[in-house]
Amino acid sequence: MKKSSVFLALFVLLCLSLFLTSCATIATGTKQLVTINCNVDGATVSLDGVNVGKTPFTGEIKKNGKVITIEKEGYKTYTIALSTSLEGLFWGNIITGGTLGSITDFASGAAYKYAPASYQVELMAKGTSLNNFKQIYELKKYAMINMSNISIDLSKNNGTYLESLIYLTNMEKNEKSIEIIRKQLIESDGDQVRFGNLMVKLLDI
């Protein structure tokens, strides 16, 4: 092989490296370790129609899978369309549209990512009012995603993240509310899912 061909190949690799720095997850294999939590334990998790386990689910799933279904008797079945890479690309200004679904309509439930490869699915019990479901979903999602910043705000007894959480729990903004939230955070042991569930209990719905 001519030297120039070797250098040309190296040049192409150099160019590729410029554009592929942000998509490392794509090349790491055909399966990915994923955690799927749900507001209901024991819901069936299926990948492309094949049962892979029950919630809370932690296991490897194929990256080329198309659809994950979560179902439980008494609840509406929830389906999530998967992206090829699960983690998706974060190239430019683009919102991926949610890797395991960022759902804006609440026809049968909702899902969101709260930590690396960790997703929370909210199944809607048949007969639940849409307003109640939405209120719970918004509070839990906010609390789980912003838990670290809420901890920091608690250390200051003040802050924008804490203020929003108090608002979502329908409490008054005062020291008592701050102490209640601090207590719940300690009780949750710093775990996002437990903290989210404890916050929902404050709603008294």
Binding site: K2, F11, S17, S22, A117, S118, N149, S155, E163, Y167
Partner: protein
């Protein structure tokens, strides 16, 4: 000789026009952006429900600064934030943006489709805290929030159009059907029904200018990178103080570690190990129990949006030992170059979309530079990231390092690393260049070699740049050249710059004096 020069110019211009034509044709062959007026509301009842849920008191245009790690984000991003009529913490306000759906497509497909306009774009509604997390935490970008004045009718118009459009798909094209153009169209149509959509190139920051009669001074939100840096300074200040201050430092440090972990995990991580999870959880508990910490995890304040126009023109002189005096003409369309002052773009990221430099002599006109795209990122390491430095350009450049000052057409790339001194006031970058080019006298060549760039912000108005470059021409039968360039830039006024250059090669020395003006 004169004929040869003319032929060379015609040939170069032809290649460039062919390229531009290809891009434009590709652009126009994609479906035209649908009119924002053509659809009517499906259900009046749905609209009423939507309106009662979304009626807003105030609208903000949000500009997200560039993301140094991603070339396609260098232009920034635009979205809209709505302050609801009823009191609500601003993290929970609704944000509306227009973005492409890139689920299930690869990087190169995204780039090509984005250029051609065959990506699918959609208006989306999302909570502000999620946008804040995406930009300030995950991508370390700062935000500018510009309040925009809309009356009640205009606000209702805006929501009505958004309601109509939110479930529809539109072509997304980087150049003229992007986040900025579509948000701009939506706002302009809400203000004026007779507004005609323009299919021209739109940058996010030009939207701010386009709406300048309606917007007020912005509020700035710091990126996580800046906040962490500020908190580190707090710890350093308190370390040699009283016991209380030491405890405070410890608390700030715990919060800082927690914030930094959060940033690390927000990057493209596959998963957290059980040890990482346990550490994170323990730290959350510990931090929440600390009292009266002065850690800042959010910071907003009024800040000037200081940005210069994108178009620049200039003229000057070049004197050299061997050549006759040459008159220089420059035209630049793009974003930002080193000698320009601006607080919106990262100090060490430069981007131009079209740059033409011509030299006029008695012999005729010479192309010095005709770059269709040229981007250089020389970011020094920040508190959170160790960015790679890189450059990427397409077009034609005169290579002064060669004895016969040949024109090189092709791709100009480089990859390397930057270090800095005195809070990034002086930076040193080492790049390894790789340039597959067509040299107009010697044919196809692969040029490679090291390049050392030193940048020094002497003051707000004076900047100095030094570049040393070694070039190896051809690998099979190598020829080595070196080249040294020194540039000094003075900002004479907000609209005018003076550039002085000294360039040295083995064969000649060049002295340039140029005066550049912005064109609004």
């Amino acid at each position: 000789m004169k004929l040869n020069v003319t032929r060379r110019i015609i040939k170069n211009v032809f290649i460039i026009l062919l390229f531009i034509n290809t891009v434009l044709l590709a652009g126009t062959s994609s479906p035209k952006v649908n009119s924002l007026l053509e659809d009517t509301v499906a259900s009046n009842q749905q609209w009423q429900l939507f309106y009662s849920d979304h009626a807003f008191k105030k609208m903000y245009i949000v500009f997200a600064g560039p993301y140094p790690a991603s070339p396609t984000s260098s232009f920034g991003h635009i979205f809209v934030l709505l302050e609801p009529q009823q009191e609500k913490p601003f993290l929970l306000w609704d944000a509306i943006d227009f973005s492409a759906n890139i689920t299930n497509i690869g990087t190169f497909e995204y780039l090509s489709k984005g250029l051609l306009g065959s990506l699918e774009g959609q208006y989306k509604e999302i909570s502000f805290y999620e946008k804040l997390r995406e930009y300030t935490l995950k991508e370390s970008r700062s935000l500018w929030l510009f309040p925009i004045q809309l009356d009640k009718e205009e606000s209702k118009n805006f929501l009505f159009r958004f309601f109509n459009l939110s479930n529809k798909i539109y072509p997304y094209r980087f150049t003229n059907s992007n986040c900025a153009s579509q948000i701009y169209n939506l706002i302009k149509l809400s203000i004026d029904d007779s507004f005609k959509q323009e299919n021209q190139l739109v940058f996010p920051h030009t939207i701010i200018n386009g709406l300048k009669n309606r917007i007020s001074d912005p509020i700035f939100i710091e990126s996580i990178d800046n906040l962490l840096k500020e908190n580190v300074e707090k710890i350093t200040l308190n370390t040699c103080s009283s016991e209380n201050k030491l405890l405070e430092s410890k608390n700030v440090n715990d919060a800082l570690v927690l914030n930094k972990l959060e940033w690390e995990y927000s990057q493209d991580r596959d998963h957290l190990t059980s040890d990482e999870k346990i550490n994170l959880q323990a730290l959350r508990k510990k931090v929440s129990l600390a009292s009266n910490t002065s850690y800042s995890n959010f910071k907003s304040y009024p800040k000037e949006f200081d940005i210069h126009p994108t178009t620049l023109a200039g003229g000057g002189l070049q004197i050299s030992k061997r050549e006759e005096i040459e008159y220089l003409l420059t035209y630049r369309f793009g974003i930002h170059e080193y000698f320009e002052n601006c607080n919106v773009y990262p100090a060490n990221d430069y981007l131009s979309l079209l740059k033409i430099e011509l030299g006029i002599k008695k012999k005729g006109i010479e192309i010095k530079q005709l770059m269709l795209f040229n981007q250089t990122s020389l970011q020094p390491p920040s508190y959170l990231s160790n960015y790679l430095s890189w450059k990427l350009g397409f077009g034609i450049r005169q290579k002064d390092e060669f004895r016969d000052r040949q024109l090189a057409s092709g791709v100009f790339t480089g990859l390397g690393y930057t270090v800095s001194l005195y809070e990034d006031e002086i930076t040193f970058s080492l790049l390894i260049d790789a340039e597959p080019v067509y040299l107009h006298k010697s044919g196809f060549s692969f040029l490679s070699g090291p390049e050392i760039i030193t940048l020094w912000n002497i003051s707000d108005r004076i900047k100095w740049m030094n570049c040393f470059k070694g070039t190896m021409k051809n690998i099979d039968n190598p020829e080595i050249y070196y080249y040294l360039e020194n540039n000094l830039g003075f900002e004479i006024s907000k609209k005018m710059m003076l550039l002085l250059s000294y360039k040295h090669s083995e064969y000649d020395n060049f002295y340039d004096i140029k005066l550049n003006f912005y064109i609004n």
